[in-house]
């Protein structure tokens, strides 16, 4: 196995995964808005055009519906397209191709062929980007049979999950939190794939389990450090994959801690946390010593003003408060 080489930015890990996948497999192609010449709005695709050429790395017009539809047709015809929708909010324009076409093709064609496409979707707030450039819409995709959904929290997982997504025979939605792109994280000199569907224990603990994913994992760890001073030993689970999610590992943890908080940046109502909380109630009820609590954004669009958005986004204090509440 590889040793830790250095710190790498999350976005560089994404870039490295694209680079390595394209080097390994000539059927991998990358296209999207400004991903070629400009290297992507967040520079995730920087250098790919120069390295792999204009056939395999393409700028598209501002046509999200067609970008996704082209990915479906390319995937059905032998390519492994990786497309970027510049902001997750814009995927609303591409939902038919993803939900009605790509997600269902294997099933509705009787298993004749899969659709090995990857849609990269930068989500999340914190950039004062306003109501149409900040949303976390991952629950929509986790609700669709046929789609897989991953949301890496670290540079290592940004690389490893994207490599697995590209190699996967089915459509995979890769959700990357924009606020993480510039963050440094540990990275291996020979980075490896991370299997879809397995969580990571971000912090081991024995009193309460916090289930989280994406940028919220670091907030959950920070919250854990603050309540540790009060004698509460928190286990933080980073789901990494939302569809499928690692149910057995979550239930195993709950079986030890008997208390659960589910935390994410997305709107709490009808979110990923609702599915996890309901599953724990269904299948882990006997292990619970307290009701499952959820932390998420309030039921409103993401506001623009710095003062409003900072109140809107779930923070470490909100998670710490929920931890204290389930331990009370």
């Amino acid at each position: 196995m590889s040793g830790v080489l250095a710190q790498t930015r999350y976005v560089q890990a994404v870039n490295r995964a694209l680079n390595d996948a394209m080097e390994l497999d000539s059927s991998v192609v990358v296209f999207g808005e400004d991903v070629a010449a400009a290297g992507g709005a967040f520079k995730a695709t920087k250098g790919l055009l120069e390295r792999f050429g204009a056939q395999r790395v393409r700028d598209t017009p501002l046509s999200e519906a067609t970008i996704a539809g082209v990915a479906v047709g390319a995937a059905l015809s032998g390519l492994r397209p990786v497309v970027e929708i510049m902001f997750m909010d814009f995927v609303t324009l591409a939902m038919d191709a993803i939900v009605n076409q790509g997600a269902k093709a294997r099933f509705m064609f009787g298993g004749q062929r899969g659709v090995p496409m990857v849609v990269r979707l930068p989500h999340g707030g914190g950039l004062n980007a306003g109501p149409q450039h900040s949303q976390c819409l991952e629950a929509w995709f986790a609700h669709i049979p046929g789609l897989k959904v991953v949301c890496p929290a670290t540079a290592r997982d940004a690389y490893g999950l994207l490599r697995s997504a590209i190699a996967d025979p089915d459509p995979v939605i890769v959700v990357e939190n924009k606020a993480l792109y510039a963050q440094m994280g540990e990275f291996d000199d020979s980075p490896v794939s991370v299997p879809i569907g397995r969580l990571r224990t971000a912090r081991a603990g024995s009193d309460v389990t916090v289930v989280s994913y994406g940028a919220t994992v670091a907030l959950a760890v920070a919250a854990s450090e603050s309540v540790a001073e009060e004698g509460i030993d928190v286990e933080v689970l980073d789901l990494r994959s939302l569809q499928p999610w690692d149910k057995s590992a979550v239930l195993e943890s709950v079986g030890r801690t008997h208390r659960v908080v589910v935390a994410h940046e997305a709107v709490r109502a009808f979110g990923v946390g609702a599915e996890i909380a309901a599953t724990i109630a269904d299948e882990g009820f006997d292990a619970l010593d307290a009701p499952v609590m959820r932390v998420g954004a309030p039921f409103m669009p993401v506001p623009f003003a710095r003062s409003l958005e900072s109140r809107y986004l779930p923070d470490a204090d909100a998670i710490a408060a929920a931890i204290r509440a389930v331990c009370a």
Partner: protein, 317 residues
């Protein structure tokens, strides 16, 4: 046989098979042996037969909710086709898709589609794959005139022009956008839309199978050279939007005039003129009917799909 009468005979055979299949579907649907919604292409067979005659093995295509003719002309196994529409285990899609999702990837059929216009970007993606791999194949997208109002049609035309995709866009213009005349739905002209993106455009009589085949040959050759184009085929829809549609919105005179424009009658006239005998045509018709009867009998005898197996193909494993 001369080359001309060989070609018209082959095209006529394809059209007769499509007509026999769909005439039989009328009965099966009325008898509730085919569930759900089906959209028949009776009257539009010349477009399917003519365009498909210009394609090569390795080419790919997408079709629409009114796509039976296209998949039959491409050579789909009619037994597995009927099994699919009748909801049997041996259906081409295992009974999961039905009429609106018939696909045979081994023949390059990337699926009929229940969403109007959605097939165009999929065909563009398939054309992209042909281009990237240098396979020399092309992709064809069939769409109806109703789809002209869909945004992805405009987006795909733009992208095809920008990327010089090996793509042929075939509009079957039957004048109807579901239950409304297309003239009340689309203020533009497809010719002008193609011209706006500098794509070659041709309009042909979609009821004249030889004219369609000729135009398709030219357009397919163009696409193979990286010049996408639009081929509009004017035709007539003999039945309703869907089977069971009472078509109160249509002028009965239009339906009465159908026989005068029947593409099969026109093809028969051309075949006779090319020296094909009436006896040979009658025999071709009987053969098409017999093959359909036998396919339906085989489909009827097949078992129903097992629900537990349906989960198998939500994901690859």
């Amino acid at each position: 046989m001369t080359a001309a009468n060989t070609e018209v005979t082959a095209l006529l055979r394809t059209m007769l098979l499509i007509r026999a299949v769909e005439n039989h579907l009328v009965k099966l649907y009325a008898n509730s042996e085919v569930p759900g919604f089906i959209h028949l292409s009776i009257g539009q067979e010349a477009v399917a037969a003519g365009v498909m005659s210009a394609l090569a093995a390795g080419d790919t295509m997408v079709t629409t909710h009114r796509g039976h003719g296209h998949v039959i002309a491409r050579g789909i196994d009619t037994i597995r086709f009927f099994k699919e529409l009748m909801g049997r285990a041996g259906g081409i899609c295992g009974g999961r898709g039905g009429s609106m999702h018939v696909a045979d990837l081994s023949l390059g059929i990337l699926g009929a589609n229940g969403i109007v216009g959605a097939g165009l970007p999929i065909a563009a993606g398939s054309a992209l794959a042909h281009q990237v791999r240098g396979s020399g194949a092309i992709a064809v997208a069939f769409f109806g005139d109703g789809a002209m109002a869909e945004g992805v049609v405009h987006e795909t035309i733009n992208l095809a022009a920008l990327w010089e995709l090996p793509l042929l866009l075939v509009c079957e213009n039957n004048g109807w956008s579901e239950f409304s005349p297309t003239s009340t739905q689309f203020r533009g002209q497809l010719s002008a839309l193609a011209a706006a993106f500098s794509l070659d455009y041709e309009c042909t009589d979609g009821n004249d199978v030889m004219a369609v085949a000729d135009a398709a040959r030219t357009a397919v050759a163009r696409a193979r050279n990286g010049k996408p184009s639009v081929l509009e085929c004017t035709t007539r829809r003999a039945r309703g939007h869907f089977e069971g549609d009472r078509q109160k919105y249509r002028n009965p005179q239009e339906l009465d005039e159908f026989d005068a424009h029947d593409p099969i009658a026109l093809a028969i006239a051309k075949a006779l003129a090319a020296g094909v005998t009436a006896a040979a045509i009658a025999e071709a018709r009987i053969r098409a009917d017999e093959s359909v009867l036998s396919a339906v009998a085989e489909a009827r005898a097949d078992v129903l799909p097992v629900f537990a197996h349906a989960h198998d193909d939500v994901y690859s494993a």
